[in-house]
């Protein structure tokens, strides 16, 4: 089936049913997943699916529907349902499609799709998972169990059409290799993980390397203890620093800003972080996970500097939130299949600094190096931050002993101003990334 044509046809059907505007998204894809535990194949999954979503506007009212049933009957029902729903919503003066001149797509190959993944035999993919787990199990006798090694891949496509004549589509692929080893010593157990992710099979880290790093991270946690309650500098490793970038995303997203549901509302042009922080959203970098030729309402992806040397320069916006704020879209519309667009990000990252992680640790006399976070204790409205954490205690610039069952707490607004160093170790393992970060002071709560 030609899904791009189908998307255009669904838009036309909606207009025929009385919609004044319409937009249709179709996605199709196939997933593969193999997991190995203690070197035995455990789960093998392989399947494909597709579905369509429609949003219609009846003047300033909007309604949405989706279906996985792409038969004529299924599509007819979806269109009827979206139109019926639009009639019961309220007029919203800001609702509508992007301005026609905003629509478009990036040219050129963005390297989102790699054929090598489709050509891999199943046994080879299982072997990847097995080899990664094997490397972890053989790394040290204290690695006694495992939650397994996994190889996952996805190949799919996404199509979008709207009643302003925009029509586009793109294929993408991705794969990941991960291991979760379990280590035991003196009756206590710890687990950790490592993974590699890429849009191509060739881009994955070697399986042995993934297993080794997973094992090292797990072993490092053995013998972990609580720390006394105190205020100290906190270093986030790159894996946990990435979550701070995600909180910042929520705080600068137009959806939070126009509702004043963010501690960064009304702060445009002001200093909100130390000069070490430059935060960039770039949906145009070839081959990365947050890259796409256009956003989910047909506006080209772009590079937006969100925070420049500590000063808030731009929010991230879709058409609706831009109109609410009297600004222009930044090409950050995002949605699943249907519904009003939300705000999403491209590749959102903190720009790397000069210091290596070791150099950052070296400047901490007594502090906490966080390698894992637990829970959801972050309030974007107030900036209040309180999460479970595990990692290593830092003594005189060196990692001294493992710590767990503690929380770290502060307020994001203060943490940003207190950001004392940004590492040089920026690496993309997803659509958000951050180098190692040092926050001058937070409360560690333990015993």
């Amino acid at each position: 089936m030609n899904y791009q044509e189908l998307a255009e046809r669904i838009v036309k059907l909606a207009l025929d049913e009385g919609a004044t505007d319409a937009e249709c998204t179709i996605s199709e894809g196939s997933e593969f997943s193999a997991s190995v535990r203690m070197q035995e194949l455990e789960n093998l999954k392989e399947a494909g699916s597709r579905a369509a979503g429609l949003r219609v506007l009846m003047g300033k009212r909007s309604g949405s529907a989706y279906t996985s049933d792409l038969s004529e009957e299924g599509i007819r029902q979806m269109v009827a349902s979206a139109v019926e729903l639009a009639r019961m919503t309220t007029e919203d003066p800001y609702a509508g499609l992007p301005a026609p001149e905003e629509l478009g797509a990036l040219d050129g190959d963005l390297a989102l799709y790699h054929e090598d993944l489709e050509k891999l035999d199943t046994p080879l993919k299982i072997e990847q998972a097995r080899a990664a787990e094997k490397a972890a199990l053989e790394f040290d006798p204290r690695i006694t169990a495992s939650e397994g090694g996994s190889f996952d891949s996805y190949v799919g496509a996404r199509y979008f059409a709207n009643s302003l004549g925009f029509c586009g589509g793109y294929r993408s692929s991705s794969c990941s290799l991960s291991v979760v080893p379990v280590a035991r010593e003196d009756g206590s157990m710890q687990r950790d993980y490592w993974f590699s992710a890429s849009r191509s099979f060739a881009g994955l880290e070697p399986a042995a390397e993934v297993g080794r790093r997973a094992a090292e991270r797990t072993l490092r946690r053995l013998g972990a203890r609580k720390a006394p309650t105190q205020r100290v500098p906190v270093v986030f490793d790159s894996r946990t620093a990435r979550t701070l970038v995600e909180h910042l995303f929520e705080a600068v997203s137009g959806d939070s800003i126009y509702r004043k549901a963010s501690f960064l509302a009304d702060q445009l042009g002001r200093r909100i972080a130390s000069e070490h922080l430059t935060l960039v959203d770039d949906g145009t970098i070839p081959g990365l996970f947050g890259t796409a030729p256009f956003d989910d309402e047909g506006v080209p992806s772009r590079r937006t500097v969100v925070i420049e040397r500590g000063v808030l320069q731009s929010y991230l916006l879709n058409t609706y939130t831009a109109r609410k704020l009297g600004l222009k879209t930044t090409g950050n519309a995002s949605r699943g299949l249907t519904g009003n667009p939300h705000v999403g990000h491209g590749n959102l990252y903190a720009e790397p600094g000069q210091k290596t992680p070791e150099e950052i640790l070296a400047q901490v006399k007594n502090g906490f190096y966080v390698t894992e976070l637990l829970g959801f204790g972050v309030n974007i409205v107030t900036g209040d931050y309180s999460r479970g954490a595990a990692g290593m205690w830092i003594e005189n610039g060196e990692l001294a002993y493992p710590v767990h069952e503690v929380t770290i707490a502060g307020n994001l607004a203060e943490m940003l101003l207190n950001l004392e160093a940004v590492g040089s170790d920026l690496e993309f393992r997803g659509s958000t990334a951050s180098p190692t970060l040092l926050i001058g002071e937070m409360t560690v709560s333990g015993h």
């Binding site: 789960n43 999954k45 049933d69 409205v381």
Partner: protein
């Protein structure tokens, strides 16, 4: 129950013979067990923001998952197309997990004796759209009327009807219609020129629309969300360090879900990676604690007539007077560990492999008077409402984040405190429970549990409990 009477028979022409043929194909490469999970899911949602109904969505999802088990191996495939060719192709793909001559034949399918916990005269998905939309409008009005400091209200209503047909090579055949409805209200409030604070309330269950008109109204949720936001305006920073914690009844039962529930899901124990592995019969909590998982409570969000493998749900005692009694099983773990299935095999959708999951997890009531419990604390914190929680089942460390709490000073509640995460260790935390209240309450019906990328609705409950020692992650000294 006959397959021809279900939506899968009526709309897609599915018959018992088809099911047996598909299962036969699934077992053709030597698998020991196979099952089919047909799903027809209808959803709708309506949301209001800035007093405008900004969005209304409906959707239909149809599909079938085929699973083949061979020893501890599972092969899985699915199709969103219910034609025989596609289902047979999926069965053949899943069958590849096994590589032996076919040994098992499909037992004659016969309906399992399922519960009847939510037989609604009219599922919420069949109520008039205008009636459902009116709920969010009422919530908006009530939240704004509660206090002039309320300045933002988001209200949403969502419902679904999931129809499932499960057929397994062990002969189990089950059909179920699973309605689910939920309201959410989020409120922001601020003093003039002050910083905003947020309040949230929500609830629902496997209920008719009438539930929101008569029992738990939009006004009920809206006022509670507004009240919480207003309370937060006066909140002081939460304390940091170990202290006495009193949990209020209901949703704080998320403590049990994180501290013990996940660690007792049998897949983790089959793999030997849970802090609770091989500890049945050991004392893991104070003698005051008896914790159960019960999927059989009528109309509850976490309840099911049959689990997603066609096994009727149970009431399973996890901890009895402090002693660890049992695990939560799916069919795979009960086969491997030679235990009785407990009806806890659940999945997010036809695209997912079932896993042992909780249903409604709660602690039985004790004898203490809740007011007396607070009076007994010289210095501590009283937590009433929580956001989410998480656990690392291997180390046993778990967190849950309080969103409404108060300081206890000399046996009295004094100031409200800002949000803070509480952290503990599963096999130890419940040992410090020194009082259990007589006021068991189940939550309002908002729980969503995530595990291995799959979300399922769950319930929790707890009476007021006093925990002598727990780490509170605030910022105040």
């Amino acid at each position: 129950m006959r397959v021809s009477e279900t939506i899968f028979g009526q709309k897609f022409g599915l018959t018992e013979r088809d099911l047996e043929r598909y299962l036969g194909q699934a077992l053709s490469a030597g698998g020991e067990y196979a099952d089919l999970y047909f799903e027809y899911l209808v959803t709708s949602s309506i949301s209001l923001d800035e007093s405008i109904i900004k969005s209304a969505t409906q959707g239909v999802t149809v599909g079938v998952g085929v699973r083949v088990v061979s020893g501890e191996r599972t092969g899985y495939a699915y199709s969103d197309d219910l034609t025989p060719e596609r289902i047979l192709h999926a069965a053949k793909t899943a069958a590849c997990i096994a590589a032996a001559p076919s040994q098992v034949t499909v037992a004659g399918l016969s309906p399992v004796a399922r519960h009847n916990l939510y037989d609604l005269a009219k599922p919420p998905t069949e109520s008039a759209l205008a009636e459902r939309a009116d709920l969010v409008v009422r919530a908006d009005r009530a939240a704004r009327a509660y206090d002039s400091r309320v300045f933002q209200v988001q209200a949403s209503y969502a419902d679904s009807l999931r129809q499932v047909l499960i057929a397994a090579s062990d002969g189990a055949l089950a059909f179920d219609r699973q309605p689910l409805a939920r309201m959410n209200v989020t409120v922001l409030a601020r003093e003039k020129n002050g910083a905003p604070q947020r309040g949230y309330a929500g609830g629902g269950g496997r209920v008719e629309l009438q539930y929101f008109l008569q029992e738990k109204t939009p006004e009920y949720f809206a006022r509670d969300a507004a009240r919480q936001a207003i309370v937060q305006l006066d909140a002081v920073p939460a304390p940091a360090g170990e202290m006495t914690v009193v949990l209020g009844p209901g949703w704080p039962g998320i403590l049990l879900h994180e501290a013990v529930g996940h660690g007792l899901e049998a897949d983790f124990n089959r793999k030997g990676v849970s802090a609770f592995a091989n500890r049945i019969g050991e004392k893991v909590a104070s003698s005051l604690c008896t914790v159960v998982d019960d999927g059989t409570i009528p109309y509850r969000r976490g309840s099911l007539n049959v689990d997603d493998e066609g096994v009727p749900t149970h009431r399973t005692v996890l901890i009895e007077n402090g002693v660890l009694r049992g695990y939560l099983h799916d069919k795979v773990s009960s086969r491997v560990l030679r235990a009785k299935p407990t009806g806890n095999g659940r999945r997010e959708s036809y695209q997912h492999i079932p896993l042992p999951r909780m249903t409604n997890t709660f602690m039985l009531a004790g004898e203490s008077d809740p007011e007396e419990m607070i009076r007994s604390v010289p210095k501590g914190i009283y937590c009433v409402t929580f956001g989410g929680g998480q656990v690392d089942i291997t180390s046993g460390n778990f967190v849950f984040s309080a969103s409404e709490s108060y300081l206890i000073e000399n046996g009295r509640l004094t100031r409200p405190v800002r949000g803070a995460t509480l952290i503990g260790n599963g096999p130890e935390a419940l040992r410090y429970i020194s009082m259990v209240g007589n006021d068991l309450r189940l939550d309002e019906g908002i729980g969503i549990c995530g595990k291995e990328g799959q979300s399922v609705p769950v319930g929790v409950g707890i009476p007021t409990v006093k925990i002598d020692r727990m780490t509170v992650g605030g910022t105040a000294s």
